[in-house]
Amino acid sequence: MLSYADAEPGAELESRQYYATRLDLVKYAGASGDFNVIHWNERLAKSVGLPDVIAHGMFTMAQAGRYVTELADGDPGAVLEFSVRFSAMVVVPDDDKGAMIEVSGTIAEKLDSNRVAVNITARSGGAKVLTRARAVVRLT
């Protein structure tokens, strides 16, 4: 958790690790309604030139959303703006551990009304999977 008073522009925030397994993607497909075959069918994913099944970009964004929600003391309603660019795919192997997504953040700017802008980075498999990711969060 981060308080507005303590938020210093430029300060780096502790990173967090999240995991995406094949089961997570199946659950996410059902919960979100995005049943694109590339997120659960290895044969069809490879047939369109992908290395393997890949995570929904929105699953990865949701993990970054958990990260910023945690900064705001677990209040998802404090995340006012949230934008990302999906810069690489999160490749999810057919094993029990899945793909690790590491999310980190930097305080970009202090805004009025107890809001801060946070720049976020997410990495997986040695690549940046989210770039230009930014959230505006209201802190207490």
Partner: protein, 148 residues
């Protein structure tokens, strides 16, 4: 491809049927993404935090936006090959969080279509409002159809 992309830019699609944001769907979505916040799972915790009912995680609006933007990806005559479509960018601007009990409609507009090398990039804005007309969220997504 014979489609004239420029004809589609600026096109706004019909609003979706009213969608009821439910406790069950918020909990299902929060569980699927691993979000443990009690504000998504426990109505009493949400009320104590000042919300009318459980609230949705910040990316939940995609569930509603997807129904609306499906018109763009599937029904528009654009002929996108969905297996070749990946997500390029996404943003959400929330006027307030969606909460259980909200009845909302979504309306999508194609903001931009461009060809980048072999790829086709399409940006769609989806405005989510309550059935009473209160603006709740603007979601903006760029889909990329990867060239052969």
């Amino acid at each position: 491809m014979a489609v004239n992309w420029g004809d589609y830019v600026g096109r706004t699609f019909a609003p979706t049927e009213p969608y009821e944001v439910s406790r069950t769907k918020i909990a299902e979505f929060a569980t699927a993404i691993g979000e443990p916040s009690p504000l998504c799972h426990d109505p009493e915790a949400a009320r104590q935090a000042g919300y009318p009912d459980v609230i949705a995680p910040p990316t939940f609006a995609i569930v509603i936006a997807i129904t609306s933007s499906a018109q763009v990806t599937h029904d528009s005559g654009l002929g996108l090959n969905y297996a070749r479509v990946v997500h390029g960018e996404q943003s959400f601007e929330h006027a307030r969080p969606l909460h259980a009990g909200d009845w909302v409609v979504a309306r999508s507009t194609i903001e931009d279509i461009k060809e980048l090398g072999r790829h086709l990039m399409m940006t769609t804005r989806t405005d989510i409002t309550t059935v009473d007309g209160e603006h709740v969220c603007t979601a903006r997504g760029t889909l990329v159809e990867r060239g052969e």
